[in-house]
Amino acid sequence: MLKIENLKASIEGKQILNGIDLEVKPGEVHAIMGPNGSGKSTLASVLAGREDYEVDGGSVEFLGNDLLEFAPEERAREGIFLAFQYPVEIPGVSSTNFMKTALNQVREHRGQTTLDAVSFLSLMKEKMKIVDIDQSLLSRPLNEGFSGGEKKRNEIFQMAMLEPKLAILDETDSGLDIDALKIVASGVNKLKSKDNATIVVTHYQRLLDYIVPDYVHVLYKGKIVKSGTKELALTLEEKGYDWIKDEVDSNV
């Protein structure tokens, strides 16, 4: 589904990604872990198409297409979904109206019929249950004044609405208490299928108790320095990142 080869990216002349290789197949859950500043969020942003980043080399293939050629909205329509670490508060934009416009533009791109107000609302009601999000929240301006947990739930709600092929969760656990974390994780699990895939970007192992990965990769200095199964995450939890840093730095 996703094939990243030797991906290099920089921001304002500063190299952040130094040659990432990663392959994700349908039905898989990959966790990307790593210390602060290792490039985890950059990788998520580059995949979603944030224009602040310059791609300096390598390739990303998504469902047979060159992903890097696509504008952010084309990526979303093709099936990439980035759950933001910091969802943006947008005063004056109604959550519902935004979601309806987005969904219909996505559906149009996918050759599906656009939804009228009635069928949109009934779909919305159905998807709201997945993350236990309240109607009153969605009648407010987008993310405005939402708590941290509400923002993250709203991200997963949007994901449920847009039905992506590949979901990238960028530090979705940050700032969440354990109850909110469980709700968000259970939402993600409900949306999992054999046809879609998930990349979970996280600093802590905690989230991986609830969203169980098939593979765990450790990112350090812009490269994947170690890959393994979910046990690797437990080792990291226990021993921290220093041993990996030492291992890598001594090899240089």
């Binding site: 979603a48 198409g49 944030r50 224009e51 602040d52 504008a71 952010p72 909205e73 990526r75 979303a76 329509r77 979904f81 980035l82 933001f84 969802p87 943006v88 947008i90 005063p91 004056g92 934009v93 935004f98 979601m99 416009t101 987005a102 969904l103 533009q105 996505v106 791109h109 301006p141 949007q158 847009l162």
Partner: protein, 446 residues
């Protein structure tokens, strides 16, 4: 052709006054004619302000007038034929009410209609009020706007022949809004108009007024309008201004408001085009518990220059003023915002808030914004703030990351920015009309 300086422009306009008065048959015998003479002599003293004048520092009004100085002489016979089908496209759909239509400054009886009861409200074309010279009219006309210190008010007072006189009796809620529709048509040559309105609102009465300015053809038009609005105790007035002439139009106007105790005045100023637009909004809060709301929205591109000057004078305690002006400037357009708030020593417990926010969509767009607070009372709450910036890139990316096209995302954000002001409009057909103009602008990428 060399640009004339403001002295030369002043002289040209003065020369026209004689032509103009000789065409006013017999009016020179009337007592109100004295006002014209005083006004023209005030104008002679004041002259067209140059950019050395602090109030016109960022607005080279002389340059704009120079482009229009050859516009048709301000006379009463400069009328083409304006038929209903030419006016209809400029009407606000579904907006019913009392409509007065003016064509190149001339009242059109055929296209106008008054529906409210004459017992509750008097709605008269200014020319009739001038002729009738009722006691109320004479006592109030030109008593509020400052002829001696404002050149354009003086010019309007000297030349105005048409507009409206509106007088609301006590304890009346006027359901039907009053629409003052000024249409300029430069098809048969350039056009200059000096609309003048006097609005007197009795105790505890309520009325909505919509002033709409349109031009039916490109090229030279100059509108120099003055409105005086007087609110008795407990009166409530909403005053809407919709400026949507052409990109060639010059528009200067002054709205002078006088508020008594517990009265509420709300101004809504929407500017969508114009070569140069200067809006003065001056409000005197001369009663306890009075409230003034000033909302403005300007969305322009090209070389449009939009200047909003507001003054709120808090003279009495326990009064509130709220001001919110928002602008979106594209291409080489310029914005000027100047908000003065005076709080006199007697005006304790004043609340005064002001904010001006502007989005610049191009590197060549400019806004000059200046809050000016002068506070002599010590127990007051006053605040002001201004922001200027580009469209929020993070928000744009967020929306696009959900599948919205760049254009839709941009339109959605701009609309959200403007909605703060738009949402305050309480006349539904007017709101729909404004929404449609704004949506169209945003969809065609401004």
């Amino acid at each position: 052709m060399k640009q004339k300086n403001t002295t030369a422009l002043t002289a040209e306009l003065l020369a026209r006054f004689d032509d103009f008065t000789s065409a006013l048959n017999g009016e020179s015998e009337k007592p109100l004619f004295q006002l014209r003479k005083e006004a023209i002599s005030a104008f002679e003293t004041l002259g067209i302000p140059s950019t050395k004048n602090e109030e016109y520092k960022f607005t080279p009004i002389g340059k704009a007038i120079d482009k229009k100085i050859n516009v048709g002489k301000p006379s009463i016979d400069n009328v083409g034929s304006l038929t209903e089908d030419r006016v209809t496209p400029y009407h606000i759909p579904d907006l019913k009410g009392n409509i007065l239509v003016f064509h190149n400054g001339i009242f059109s009886k055929e296209l106008s209609s008054v529906v409210s009861s004459p017992d509750a409200i008097r709605i008269q074309p200014l020319s009739e009020a001038y002729k009738e010279a009722s006691e109320q009219f004479v006592r109030n006309f030109s008593k509020y706007a400052d002829v001696q210190n404002d050149a354009f008010t003086a010019l309007n007072t000297a030349f105005s022949t048409e507009g409206s006189f509106i007088e609301v009796s006590k304890n009346q809620v006027i359901e039907d809004p009053i629409i003052l529709h000024f249409i300029q048509d430069a098809a048969q040559g350039a056009a200059f108009q000096s609309p003048r309105n006097l609005v007197l609102v009795g105790e505890n009465s309520q009325v909505n007024i919509v002033e709409k300015f349109d031009a039916v053809s490109e090229s030279n038009t100059w509108t120099n309008a003055v409105s005086e609005v007087v609110l008795e105790e407990g009166a409530n007035v909403s005053f809407y201004k919709v400026q949507n002439d052409t990109d060639e139009a010059l528009h200067t106007n002054h709205t002078q408001v006088y508020q008594s105790k517990n009265s509420t005045f709300s101004a809504y100023t929407f500017t969508f085009s114009g070569d140069m637009v200067r809006n003065n909004l001056n409000i005197v809060l001369d009663g306890e518990g009075a409230e003034a709301n000033m909302y403005g929205l300007y969305l322009v591109k090209g070389k449009s220059h939009i200047d909003n000057h507001t003054v709120v004078d808090h003279k009495q305690p326990h009064a509130n003023s709220n001001e919110l002006y928002k602008g979106i400037l594209d291409e080489s357009s310029k914005g000027v915002f100047n908000g003065k708030i005076f709080v006199r020593q007697e005006a304790q417990k004043t609340n005064a808030f002001q904010s001006n926010n502007t989005i610049l969509l191009s590197d060549n767009a400019v806004i000059n914004t200046k809050p000016q607070l002068e506070i002599w009372a010590d127990d007051v709450k006053c605040s002001h703030g201004c922001t200027t910036g580009q469209l929020d890139e993070d928000a744009l990316f967020y929306l696009r990351a959900r599948g919205l096209s760049k254009e839709s995302a941009r339109a959605m954000l701009l609309y959200a920015f403007a909605s703060d002001v738009l949402e305050r409009v309480s006349i539904a057909p007017l709101k729909n009309y404004l929404e449609a103009i704004i949506a169209e602008r945003f969809e065609q990428n401004f």
